[in-house]
């Protein structure tokens, strides 16, 4: 199984379609950050696009609808003061112009920090990127457009360093906004015993909450493992 797994990690995807709207422009992306390109097939439950790949191919995995998507929500930078008004205006202008243009040339995309965090919510762990949303278990007591701070950050990774929490990265926080409190798609629970005339059919929709990640802060003081390059 080792060979297939390495085949996963080594196969490069062709950037099938260009990313829409507020993504990093490929041509201007001067990072020398090298990560393994995203494999084409992914059975993972948290199907996501890695934003660190050079190709920036955003092909979602086949099995699941991508739960993470880019958005134009204002993003909190860790050290600079957040300036939501100016970034929103920029994004609004880009939305109008990008939709009319086929080729995106030198768009002014607000520079999102390339950082990810692994967070535990509702006893499940998620890999979070700023600007994307995830579905979690229903957070009781959270209303729409509430700001949320997630404290249980297990690992933070930036472009050149990794902050590994034992078990938690102290003082790290992930800021998020509650977008929607909805329900999962329906599953039919069907119980059947043969030859005993026992059939029960129940429909079930699990409540969930969609939260959008705005920023990851507070990890810089923690001892880090840095890539020397």
């Amino acid at each position: 199984m080792a060979s297939t797994a390495t085949a996963f990690s080594l196969s490069a995807t062709s950037s099938a379609f260009r990313l829409s709207l507020a993504h990093f422009p490929k041509q201007n992306h001067n990072s020398s950050f090298v990560s393994l390109p995203k494999p084409t097939l992914s059975h993972s439950l948290s199907s996501r696009k890695s934003i660190f790949t050079q190709n920036l191919s955003s092909k979602p995995s086949f099995s699941l609808i991508p739960k993470f998507s880019e958005s134009e929500a204002p993003v909190i930078e860790p050290e600079t003061a957040p300036d939501p008004e100016s970034t929103e205006i920029d994004i609004g202008v880009e939305v109008e112009t990008a939709s009319t243009q086929i080729v995106e040339v030198e768009k002014e995309v607000p520079k999102r920090e390339e950082v990810f965090a692994i967070v535990m919510i509702g006893s499940r762990q998620y890999i979070l990127f700023p600007g994307r949303f995830i579905y979690t278990q229903r957070l009781k007591g959270a209303n729409v457009n509430d700001k949320i701070i997630l404290n249980k950050v297990l690992l933070v990774g930036t472009k050149n360093s990794t902050y590994i929490g034992k078990p938690v990265v102290t003082n790290a926080a992930v800021h998020a906004v509650v977008e929607e409190q909805g329900l999962n798609p329906k599953v039919i629970v069907f119980k059947y015993k043969k030859k005993k005339n026992y059939r029960r059919k129940i429909g079930h929709r699990q409540p969930n909450t969609r939260i959008r990640i705005t920023g990851i802060t507070g990890y810089l003081d923690y001892p880090a493992t840095t890539l020397e390059s």
Partner: protein, 125 residues
């Protein structure tokens, strides 16, 4: 369930199981039983898939899965296998950092300290 619902659930079935109600009803009931059972086995399957992937990722660094997880448990790192498999696929440098942490915590791989070399017999001529 009435017939329309059965046929709606029977889309894509083979042969008469999608057209004829008597056969479709049986097949749909079986399909729903399988889905009930497999929602439970999916959790098992995914976990074994993650373990396979982590194993592959760590063996590239010269550590096998058992020693890697032992080292993580010793260091009180509570990342679960799903996330570790994602890191091993997409964030190789972070994963390498984790492997190094685990190797320091539990050096159980004295024999396999380096990535295993190919066992070709090279005769120096």
């Amino acid at each position: 369930m009435n017939k329309d619902k059965i046929f709606k659930l029977a889309k894509g079935f083979r042969g008469r199981a999608k057209d004829c109600i008597r056969i479709a009803r049986e097949r749909v009931e079986k399909a729903l039983q399988y889905s009930y059972r497999d929602r439970r086995t999916k959790k098992r399957d995914m976990r074994s898939l993650w373990i396979e992937r982590i194993n592959a990722g760590t063996r590239l660094q010269g550590v096998n899965y058992g020693n890697f997880m032992h080292g993580l448990m010793k260091e009180n790192i509570q990342l679960n296998r799903k996330v570790l498999s994602e890191l091993s696929m997409h964030e190789s440098y972070s994963f390498k950092a984790l492997v190094d942490v685990s190797r320091n915590a539990f050096p159980g791989n004295k024999k396999v300290a380096l990535p295993p070399k190919k066992e070709g017999v090279s005769i120096v001529v």
